[in-house]
Every structure is written in structure tokens, then in C-alpha cells.
Symmetry: C2
Subunit: 505 residues, 2 copies
């Protein structure tokens, strides 16, 4: 298909701006010819206004009409064929099989939301009937349901070019809720973004949705995202990416004349606490599994375990030697972008230079390889830099001199998407206080498993206290993500004919 | 009972500060001797730290233990006897019967939360069982529930010295959720606050709750509230009061190194749209009811109808004459504080001076009386001052020259707690577009009723888009208010013995 490099707004391709950037083939380490135009402020205004006008009809579409639209998007993404996977692979360096799975997940998400909204009960109707005989005053008829917030600005992540991008979880949740989406394309995979946007465009036409219900804007500069967040008709923001990016958007949104909710998933170090008896029993097998989790997808998952917390002892030393050997044996990897590779290598160097840090893998060279470092808990607390997330296939082992120190160390942790506890049955039963501390820090706590691999299921929480996210009261994976884009309204004393259909009867 | 004027922190009375203020008898318009000490920053730190330590045990109390605690608070408030009502009446100018009803409502709220949490299902358990045979990977066991956020800072309102104050809805919701509360007393009724706090203290002792689960801090300066919001161990804020106060706390909370949710209910003008045929049919009766709603509680309800939107015509003129006559016939009223009376009289003068405004009631004198003004929609849009909330028993009539102008005017309204539509059956059936506009602006939409009188029932929404509140996704009245103070956590692959009891089985 032809890639235009333009914004796709209200069903049309536009590019009035002068600034542009190129896509980049990260696998071949070379620039792709296709040029992309940065959205101008006028174009962003056009996109949001189109979304606002589309909202007037879109929020009144029936639930089956909307689920048909979501299913059509899934169908059109599949219809793009393998060229979508090949394109995404060249732009991100991710393998074809991984991307095939991710495409399936993206379609599953769209279909799951379609199924969830189909019968309309998702609006959570509550009906309190009138009681005209109540004393001292009659009780009025009160009925509540969830309604959509309005146009939503969505920012995709670099590490999931399909499942957390143009037609990813956030877009699916917002569209399912009845909210139009203005999507800010990730500059690390702009071709993939345009391809998926054309699929949405086809679905809009086929299911006769208003053209403004989805727009795609391109941009590499902070201005584009900032203008989107500041637009008065945007009613909420969803974002997956770095702390720096997410926090900047949160601050902009809070400073608006009308502040709006920001759901930013900003990653975390996902501590894994490894208890001693377990690694005494099966340290080698655990190290093997652990290395698999650290290097999965080149360590580029939000739930990648970047911190290992252990108690000192010979079994810990042996375990870390096994783990270092496993990691050293992995092949060099391609990260999502040149910048991410550079940040990774710089980050490792920075951590290695922290006082008290012992590198357990070889000095980093030009290529991205997996790394392991170790540091005493007391030293780590003195230099927080060693505890900051380094995006990529590395981990830092923090060694405590006692269970008390280990618990205290965990109590100082910031908010996390996940924490994991590995131990024997006996050890776990004695760890209830530690578990209590960990629960207070996370969105998800895993026992004897690994944090990578986020199930799309009703009980999943992909979220957590700040700075893992800017709103711990929700999740960005799973069906309940839809309620990030709704609010309750109460209809008092409405005649049946005027009630929304979900509240009649 | 003896009033100390001190902070009540962790079960003890403390007052290390030098700054103080007096309570004021607004009915007699004179200062009460009792002196209150402004909480120092050290005292606020002590209160929040006590709350944090109490949280460690309190969040692990069983649901029946917690509901017993809430019921005990209700019992101890009743046990204070009528001296509580007399005190509140002298500090607020509200009548004894009104306060008797408000005390009952306060107790009902506490008991309703007690009943709601009793069996533990309120934590919304979700259980996704494991599937070891799933391909390509086994599915882990995932279980989700809501957990409490931690210590909450609550700010009471001046207009509900019991139901939205020390042991009011926000405190009840937070304590029910498992969150300790540090309550900032309202300086307009500090004696009432201390009395209710001692009731909570007794309930803490009787039900053996940790002493730090509730603390009361006094203060008239912004510093006290600001220090509470900025304390790093406070995890959310609930507030009922003015836009200025609520927005200032919201901004402070957003600027914290760790931003926290702020649920500020900041009032609104609660527009009432009056359609022509209805007032042609029964204008006089409607005017009588309307006057009752405007002057109820001296117009000091958050849902007081401060804006009337009508279409021009002789029936509108007649209706407004009736309404003005009704309002002019009411007696002078005592408002909650001297400052509120002054703001009210200044606000009326300011509105009367706006270009195009026609006063329909007599020039305001020293005493607080009810007022009505009218202005053309086109003039109102040119001078927003006439549309701003004046807290008290007044209303502004905005006259449109057509239904189209009326609709456009409604589309320019800011977020509101409520809107109300009065019309004949026929008129209402033709007003679906107008209803759509109004729904987008409010937390609650009333047909042929009045906004004052907020039912405490499951379908109620006392909230709405900014600037009515800082978080439209919730309500501050009703049982679901509890979820403002919780977040979901997912427990993955937990052995039964380690699961929270709500998720076992």
C-alpha cells in the first residue's frame, strides 16, 4: 500500500506543515525514505474538532453498532496481511512471530470489547424506583448509568507497535465507551501507524460511523503531543511510555483551565524478591527461568524484572553466578530504536559507576547484551540512581544482610506495576509481613512466577501506584479499562420515553 | 462537655502552636469565648504519621470489625445529645429541626456504609482460575480485589456541619474503605467539630481501633490545609466547599512529587430550564415551588438553583413577576458566616451592575434577603460575571429569544452538579436535543422537580464535570463514594493460605 506520511483527519489525508521526519529501519540500522509530516496546531485543532462533532452522533450509536465497528477494525487489520508484520518488524526490530502474536492480541482486544459492550449492560445501570408514599417527602425515581467522557487523546508506546498503538487497548477501550479518539502516532513506527489507521478508516466507512471518530496525527516533537493534551475539547488522555513523557503530559493536563484525567502507564523496575531456601533448593533452574524473563522481547516489556532483591549468603552468590552466566550466554539484541539502545548502554555504564556496585557481566561494548549488577541494600539506598529503570535486558541485584533489612528496603520502593516473590512453601508462609509491604507498592503481585506475560483477563491489573502510573485506580489491560473513559450520570424523575434505552423499564 | 480548642491526634489533645482563633455565634452575631489553636506543621506531621502507622493494622481489620466501628461512631454522635444540635445551630445559624434531620442523615450514612461493607463483597472480588492445559502457555490463577489507598485528608464544608463535616460522608466512606482520616475542621464550626471528634474517639476506644485512625486538626489559615495536602503519606483528598478552595488544593496535590487524587465538590449554579407551555399552564404554582427551592436552607445548598433559563414571552414575564413576588415576601435570613453574608451581598451588587441586567427584587440592604435578576442570553455571554455562583438565596434568569438560542446558551455552560428541566409532557418530548446537551454538562439531570434535596441512594450522583468537581468519575453522596479511596490489586498464583480472605476459595 502507498504510505502518504500525512495526518489522517476526519477521513482525509492532510499535511500543511513544513517539518518532517523519516521512518527508520532499526534492523538494518538505516533510514527509510518515507517522510512524515509533523501535525501543525491547525491540523490538531481540526482533528479534535472533528472528534467533537463526531461525538455528537457517535455517543448515541447503539451498543451493537459500536461493537460491529470494533469487530470491523479487527477484520481490516487482519486484511492488511503480513506486510503489516514485516513493516512493524523493520521499524521496531521485533521478530515476525512475536508480531504475529501481538496482532492476534490486538484483534482479540477489539473483539473482547465488542463482546463486552454488545448487550448494553456495561453501562452499569442502577435503578432506584420512586416511592410516592415515603414520609416526610416522596422519593423520586433515580436512575444511574455510565456515559462517555468525550474525545480522548491516545499516545501509543514504542514497545507494542500493534497492541498498545493505533488500534491498541486504549483506542479499543475509548471507542467501545463511545469516545472518539485522536491518536498521536509513535515516531518510532510511523508507517505501521499509518497502515493501521487506514484499516480503521475502512472500518469507519463499512460500518457508517462518523468520519471524525478516529484521527491519526504524526509528530516527533513534544509540541504535537502538548497541543493535543491542551486542546479544550479533549476530555482524557491515555499514554504508555516513559516516566518523563507521561509525567510531562500529566503536568500539562493538570494545568489546563479545565484539568482532565491522564492515564499514563510509565513502566517500573518490577522487583523480584528471591528467598533463600528456594534458591538453595533449585537455584540453577530458577536462574534459567529468570534469565528468560529478563531477556524476553530484549527486555523491552513494561513488566521486565529490573530489580532482584535477595538476602546475603552463599546460595545467593551461587544463584547470581548462574544468572550472570545465563545472561552472558545470550546473543546481542536489537532494541526498538537507536535512542533506546544508546540510553540502555549509557544506563548500564552509569549503574556500573555507582559506588558499591559490582558488575557480574562483562563491560558493555557497542552491541546491546544482557547485564547483571549487584549492590548492597545500604549502598543502593545511598545512591538512588542504581534503582532507576534502565529500559532493556538488564537487572540489578540488591543484597540485604537480613530479612529485616530486606523488608525495610522493600518498604522504600516506589510504586510498581508488579512485584514478584519467589520462595518455598515454608518461606512464603512466614513472609506475610513482606507480602503486606509489597501489596502496598504494586498493581499486581506474583508468587513463584515471573512478571512478564500480562494476561488479558477480567482480574488483571496492569497499573499501580505512582510513578508506575498517574492513576492507580484503574488498569490499562483488560475489559475494565473502558471505565477510564466514562462517568456516572443520574437521571431523576425522567418519563420512560426520555430515558436512555439502557435505563428504561 | 469541655471544649479544649486543641488538635485531637492519635487519641491525645495537643496544641503547641501560638496562633489561635475564636468560634463565632452567627445567630447572635458575636464571638464565642472558646479559643482554637491552629495546628502547627509538626502537629500535622504527627497526625499523618499516626494515620500511617494506624493504617498498618486498620487496613487488616475485618469488615465486621470496621462496620462495628462505624456503627459505634453513629451511636456516640447520638449520645452527645441535643447540645450538639444547639452548638451547631449557634455556630452556623441553621435551625434545630434542620440539624436534627442532618444528624439523622449523618448517622444513616455511617450505618449505611457499615451495612455495605459487612459481608466483604464490597471489595469486588474477581477470580480467574488457572488453566494449566492452555496452549501455548498455561494460564496462571489471577484474583483481583479493591484495597484501601492509605491515609486520607478530609476537608468539611461550612453548610453541612454534621453530614459533610467531621463524621460526614467523606469520613464515613474513607473509614469504611479501610483508610485512616486526618480531618481539617471547618473554622466556621470548630466547637461542633471537636464535639463530633470526641464521639469518634470514644468509638475508637470502645471498638479497640488503633488511635491514629482518626485525627482532627484545627485551623483558619490556608497553611494548615496546604500542609495536610502536601504531606507525602497522605494518599487522597476529599473536599466540599468553594471553587477557590477546592481548586487550590487540587493544584497543590497535582504539584506534589507524588500527585494524589483530589475529590473536590465545589458547587455550581445548577441551571433550571423552564419551558414556556408549562409556565403558561401553571406558572404561579411553579413560581411558588421554585421560590421554595431557592430559599431552602437560606439558599446554602450546593444544588441551589442559581440560574433560570427561559425563552422570552409574556408567560415568562408573568412567571418571573410571580417568582420575584414570592422571593420578596420571604423573611431576612442568617447565613453561615459573616464572610458568606458579605460575599452574598457583594455578589448581588456586582451582578446588578452588569450591563443589561434587570433587578426584579429590591435593592439589597444590610440584611440578607432573597434576590432575582434577569438578563438576556446575549448579554450574559458577553459578561460571564453574571453567571458565576453567588452562594445564597438568589437566582439569575437568562432570557433567550428562541429555542435555538436557549440550546446554544446551555451548550456554553460549564460543568454542573445538576441541571433541571421543567416542561409539559409535549414540550419535553420535543426537547431531546436539549436534554442531550444538558446530560453532557451535569452529574444529575432532573425533570419536573427541583435540584435541592439529594437522596442518599445507590443511583444518586452528587458530582459532575469540572468545575462542579475535580473528578467527574465519582460521587460524594451515596455508597459508591467508597471507591474514591480504593484501587484494584491483582494477586497472581497465590497459595490459598496467603490470599486475602475475600479472595479464597
Amino acid at each position: 500500500m502507498d504510505i502518504t506520511g500525512k495526518q489522517i483527519i476526519n477521513g482525509t489525508y492532510v499535511a500543511e506543515g513544513k517539518d518532517s521526519f523519516n521512518s527508520f529501519n532499526v534492523s538494518l540500522d538505516k533510514t527509510i525514505d518515507t517522510m512524515f509530516f509533523e501535525a501543525t496546531d491547525e491540523e490538531i485543532d481540526y482533528a479534535v474538532n472533528s472528534a467533537f462533532f463526531a461525538f455528537q452522533t457517535y455517543h448515541n450509536t447503539s451498543h451493537p453498532e459500536r461493537s460491529q465497528f470494533l469487530r470491523a477494525i479487527a477484520g481490516e487489520i487482519e486484511a492488511l496481511g503480513d506486510v503489516l508484520l514485516e513493516t512493524a518488524s523493520s521499524e521496531t526490530g521485533l521478530g515476525l512471530e512475536r508480531l504475529r502474536g501481538e496482532r492476534q492480541r490486538t484483534m482479540n482486544q477489539l473483539n473482547a470489547f465488542a463482546k463486552y459492550i454488545d448487550d448494553g449492560s456495561w453501562v452499569k445501570p442502577i435503578i432506584d424506583p420512586a416511592d410516592p408514599d415515603r414520609k416526610p417527602l416522596p422519593k423520586p425515581d433515580l436512575r444511574q448509568m455510565q456515559i462517555p467522557l468525550g474525545p480522548i487523546g491516545v499516545f501509543g508506546s514504542s514497545n507494542f507497535p500493534l497492541a498498545f498503538s493505533v488500534a491498541g487497548g486504549d483506542t479499543a477501550a475509548a471507542l467501545a465507551a463511545g469516545c472518539p479518539v485522536v491518536f498521536k502516532a509513535h515516531p518510532a513506527h510511523p508507517i505501521t501507524c499509518e497502515m493501521v489507521a487506514t484499516a480503521i478508516l475502512k472500518a469507519i466507512e463499512k460500518t457508517k460511523m462518523p468520519a471524525g471518530v478516529f484521527s491519526l496525527i504524526q509528530g516527533k516533537s513534544n509540541r504535537v503531543g502538548g497541543s493535543l493534551v491542551k486542546h479544550p475539547l479533549i476530555k482524557a488522555i491515555a499514554f504508555t511510555g516513559s516516566y518523563r513523557g507521561g509525567k510531562a503530559l500529566f503536568d500539562l493536563a493538570a494545568q489546563r483551565p479545565e484539568p482532565i484525567p491522564v492515564y499514563a502507564e510509565m513502566g517500573s523496575v518490577n522487583p523480584v524478591i528471591v528467598l533463600s531456601a528456594l534458591i538453595k533448593e533449585k537455584g540453577e533452574a530458577t536462574a534459567k527461568q529468570f534469565a528468560g524473563s529478563i531477556t524476553l522481547g530484549a527486555g523491552q516489556f513494561c513488566t521486565n524484572p529490573g530489580l532482584i532483591v535477595l538476602k546475603e549468603g552463599s546460595e545467593t552468590n551461587t544463584f547470581l553466578q548462574h544468572l550472570a552466566a545465563e545472561l552472558s550466554a545470550t546473543q546481542p539484541m536489537t532494541l526498538l530504536t537507536r535512542d533506546i539502545s544508546k540510553s540502555y548502554l549509557d544506563g548500564i555504564q552509569k549503574q556500573r559507576s555507582v559506588k558499591g556496585v559490582t558488575p557480574l557481566t562483562a563491560e558493555p561494548k557497542e552491541k546491546v547484551t544482557s547485564h547483571l549488577l549487584s549492590v548492597k541494600a545500604s549502598d543502593a539506598l545511598k545512591n538512588h540512581a542504581v534503582l532507576e529503570e534502565v529500559f532493556g535486558p538488564s537487572s540489578v541485584a540488591v543484597i540485604s544482610n537480613s530479612m529485616e533489612e530486606l523488608k525495610s528496603f522493600c518498604a522504600t520502593l516506589e510504586g510498581q506495576l508488579t512485584a514478584t516473590l519467589l520462595g518455598t512453601e515454608e518461606e512464603l508462609l512466614e513472609a506475610t509481613e513482606l507480602i503486606d509491604v509489597l501489596v502496598s507498592k504494586v498493581g499486581r503481585l506474583i508468587i513463584n512466577g515471573f512478571p512478564t506475560g500480562v494476561e488479558v483477563s477480567p482480574a488483571m491489573v496492569h497499573g499501580g501506584p505512582f510513578p508506575a502510573t498517574t492513576d492507580s485506580r484503574s488498569t490499562s489491560v483488560g475489559i475494565t479499562a473502558i471505565y477510564r473513559f466514562t462517568r456516572p450520570v443520574c437521571f431523576q424523575n425522567f418519563p420512560q420515553a426520555l430515558l436512555p434505552r439502557e435505563l428504561r423499564g
